[in-house]
């Protein structure tokens, strides 16, 4: 029985240690909310209406103390917070676009020592800092703490109701301050400051499958998959690495790391909405194999006569969205995007889990003032009413769309998908159903710690849309400005690729990435099976690693009793088939092309191979042999090309940082 008691005691102290102190800003907000609701309920608008003004005593002092105690961590987070705040202050403006990505100083670049605190901070708690550097969620929280403390300074003038607090209110603060002081967290050895440092469980969920295995051509010559134009995985991995943590292996989808970059394959000609090109190159990590590279380039239709757009922003305003890298960044991002819209385009805003319902009626994009005002009014908070947010968004979209226009719902969230339909399958079906009516869904993820990558993927895939992760204004610029046309205008739908390898020339093959996009062989010709879309101007890349017959690199032994491989009179490596539908059509068209061994390497192959290597190093390097970070970085560096926006230079930095992290 004493054992039980010990266990219970242990549990109790662990529980005390794990329980965080409430965030001061959240606390103040909640109290203000409760007071406002109380006042509303009493129907009184007189002095009993309290303001959101936070009491000046107690809280700030507590924060100062926290900074003193957690010196090095606080130093680290304070810098981040200040950056985040600068971000909020600047407001929309063209010069904003030149802003460098905000990043943790000392964490990016080549600095391998991640846990080093800024110089002006005492190092006594170095160990804590080291530990914290490994725990991104803890840092995340730290950022929230400080950033929110600063945020009011950065925001516009506080609500007009911020009157001088009456004596009654001041009095009301005192007992609580007192009670906090008199409450030395019962039976708890550690002071409350220590409790904050305990990392909380990370609740992110990722979508992935096991890495594609090597296939023996003689046994399984056909490989079928759907294209994937998402980029969320790269942005997520970059965000993790820049926080000083290698991404979770399931967060790495290699095809998205490759497809994050534009390869500028040669433009389509004739009636085809996109071009398909193939190339063969020597595998950088294995002298005995080759890479078969398939590149698809979507045409960039003349945007001057593009159809009018109807956009419905469906925005998560649950309480957890108030972090600086969530709702504030979202507002900035959408502001950037507005500048890309035409006067004839229309925008509406629907929120869920919070100040419920439609907050902006369909408004012409030319009326920037009204749209911006609605956007800036959004606040994280309010009670979490189970709104039928998604249905409402679709209804609004439906009401907006006219013949020949393009309608899209853009869902922005940090992972709270409580959008009104509670059964995931019903949710998917609903979105797929709406897809058939021509309203598509794109998903933008914000913030870390609670991001539901898996659901994001599922929703976007079913909604014929893109899933992107936005962690900085630069990423918003890339996704919502530079590549907006690609994200919003599909030029080909349900694009499926099937490659049949020739057992006479290829002994084994392996598709790099696309695990979550695998299709059954018979799905290829079935036009009812949904697949990925190609957006205007986007490029999509797929890479196979193939082992020629007779190569030393072969991993499996040939079967003794198998039929002799058919010659077929062909020295082709394989045969590429691709199916797509014109937007809105229900029957697919077929493109076929042989893949021959003498195809020259394509433009951009080197970079794509470097990214494929990068992804495998992060996820599963079992096929890479001795080839490691140094080689991957060298390969990437040698293939940076023109890189007009600096994305590739940044990727090299991220790889170097990942190398340092992996070496620890």
């Amino acid at each position: 029985m004493t054992d039980d008691l010990d266990t219970l005691d242990e549990l109790k102290s662990a529980m005390h240690a794990a329980t965080p102190a409430p965030d001061p800003a959240r606390r103040a907000q909640d109290l203000a909310l409760a007071q406002k609701n109380f006042a509303d309920l009493q129907g009184s608008t007189s002095e009993s209406r309290l303001t959101s003004e936070r009491p000046k005593t107690g809280l700030r002092r507590g924060l100062g103390k926290m900074i003193d105690v957690l010196s090095s961590r606080a130093g680290l987070t304070a810098t981040t917070a200040l950056i985040a705040v600068t971000f909020v202050t600047l407001g929309p403006g063209s010069d904003l676009l030149q802003l460098p990505r905000p990043s943790l100083p000392g964490l990016t670049g080549s600095t391998p020592e991640l846990a080093v605190a800024p110089k002006d901070v005492e190092m006594s708690a170095g160990e804590i800092a080291d530990q914290l550097a490994k725990t991104e969620s803890a840092r995340n929280r730290g950022v929230t703490y400080l950033a929110e403390e600063e945020a009011p300074l950065a925001q516009a003038a506080p609500a007009p109701s911020a009157e001088i607090a009456t004596t009654a209110q001041l009095r009301s603060v005192e007992p609580s301050a007192l009670s906090r002081m008199q409450q030395p967290a019962a039976g708890l050895a550690a002071p409350s400051e220590d409790r904050i440092a305990v990392p909380e469980a990370n609740t992110e969920a990722y979508a992935n499958e096991d890495p594609n295995p090597v296939q023996v051509t003689a046994e399984n010559p056909v490989s079928t998959f759907s294209i994937d134009v998402d980029t969320a995985s790269y942005a997520l991995a970059r965000n993790s690495i820049q926080r000083g943590v290698l991404p979770h292996t399931d967060a790495v989808r290699i095809e998205e790391m490759i497809n994050y970059f534009n390869y500028g394959y040669f433009a389509p000609d004739g009636d085809m909405p996109f071009s398909v090109s193939t190339g063969v190159m020597q595998t950088p990590w294995n002298p005995g194999t080759q890479l078969v590279h398939i590149g698809i380039q979507g045409e960039l239709p003349a945007m001057a006569n593009r159809p009018p757009l109807n956009l419905v922003f469906l925005i998560d305003t649950s309480g957890s969205m108030q972090d600086p890298d969530k709702l504030p960044l979202l507002k900035q991002s959408f502001t950037l995007m507005l500048s890309q819209l035409r006067p004839e385009d229309q925008v509406a805003i629907v929120t869920y889990a919070g100040s419920a319902g439609q907050v902006l009626e369909p408004t012409p994009a030319s009326d920037r003032k009204t749209i911006l005002a609605a956007l800036n009014r959004l606040e994280a908070g309010g009670s979490t009413a189970g709104q039928a947010g998604l249905q409402q968004a679709y209804d609004v979209a439906q009401g907006m769309s006219e013949e020949g226009e393009v309608s899209r719902v853009i869902l922005a969230t940090d992972g709270d998908f409580n959008v009104g339909l509670s059964d995931p399958q019903a949710l998917k079906d609903y979105i797929a159903d709406k897809r058939e009516t021509g309203t598509y869904l794109s998903v933008l993820g914000f913030g870390r710690g609670n991001l539901d990558d898996a659901t994001m993927q599922a929703l976007a895939q079913n909604g014929n849309g893109q899933a992107a992760y936005i962690d900085t204004l630069s990423e918003a610029q890339k996704v919502l400005v530079d590549q907006l046309s690609g994200a919003l205008f599909a030029i080909a739908e349900d694009v499926k690729i099937q490659v049949e390898f020739n057992p006479a020339t290829v002994a084994e093959y392996r598709l790099i990435g696309y695990e979550t996009r695998a299709l059954r062989r018979e799905d290829f010709n079935n036009d009812k099976v949904d697949a990925g879309e190609i957006g205007a101007g986007t490029s999509v890349t797929a890479i196979y690693e193939v082992t020629p017959v007779g190569s030393d690199a072969r991993l499996t032994d040939p079967l003794r009793y198998s039929a002799v491989a058919t010659e077929g009179g062909s020295d082709e490596l394989g045969f590429l088939r691709l199916r797509y539908k014109e937007p809105g059509e229900s029957t697919s068209q077929l493109i076929e092309a042989p893949i021959t061994a003498d195809l020259p390497p394509m433009e951009g192959t080197g970079w794509a191979a470097a990214m494929a290597g990068f992804g495998q190093l992060l996820r599963d390097d079992s096929y890479l042999g001795d080839w490691g970070w140094d080689q991957a970085i060298a390969l990437a560096n040698a293939n940076r090309g023109a890189d007009p926006y600096g994305y590739r230079a940044e990727a090299v930095q991220v790889m170097r940082l990942a190398q340092s992290l992996a070496a620890r």
Binding site: A14, A18, D30, L31, T203, G386, T455
Partner: protein, 178 residues
């Protein structure tokens, strides 16, 4: 002046805004701590606390002083947590907080985290009912109060606690075998 929880709560029920804000200020931190113990994640706890604060003014008008205020508040919190869980249970991220043991296990390595891990693992190994009961009892709530909060008999609480202990003992044994 009588400033006990109960008299403030009764004043609040009668429309006294100052009493209401005083009371909530006083008890907010404990409310948040309980929300964390019920959910196992900070983000969830924050959203849950916010829900409760938003709904509290309407609820407190029905406070009659038949139980202690904290007992009453905890019952509100437990019910709100159940509502929230029910709404979420069919969503794909149902396995979160205490449920998301595997992910946190992979993510955390440090010693402090090991303690949290053990806690998370322990909480996760328990069925929901036992988890809620334990969350209350670990919060220094007596069995009698817990019974009142959860609207079950005191015997049920005692039984649940012994079940929880059994669970934990089994877990401890498995740990030691490894």
């Amino acid at each position: 002046m009588d400033t006990s929880d109960e008299s403030l709560a009764k004043a609040a029920a009668g429309g006294d805004a100052v009493a209401f804000s005083t009371l909530l200020e006083r008890r907010y931190d404990q409310l948040f701590a309980l929300c964390f113990r019920l959910t196992g994640s900070r983000a969830e706890a924050e959203d849950l606390t916010q829900d409760i604060c938003a709904a509290l003014p309407a609820k407190i008008s029905r406070f009659r002083g038949e139980s202690r205020f904290m007992t009453w508040l905890y019952r509100v919190a437990v019910n709100a947590a159940h509502d929230r869980r029910r709404r979420q249970s069919t969503r794909s991220r149902a396995a979160e907080g205490w449920g998301d043991w595997e992910k946190s296990r992979q993510a955390e390595m440090s010693e402090t985290a090991a303690q949290v891990d053990w806690l998370t693992a322990a909480m996760r190994s328990l069925p929901e009912q036992l988890r809620d009961t334990l969350a209350l009892v670990l919060d220094e709530v007596t069995h009698a109060q817990a019974a009142e909060i959860l609207d079950v008999s005191e015997g049920t609480i005692s039984w649940r606690m012994s079940e929880a202990k059994k669970h934990l003992r089994r877990m401890r044994e498995e740990e030691e075998q490894v």
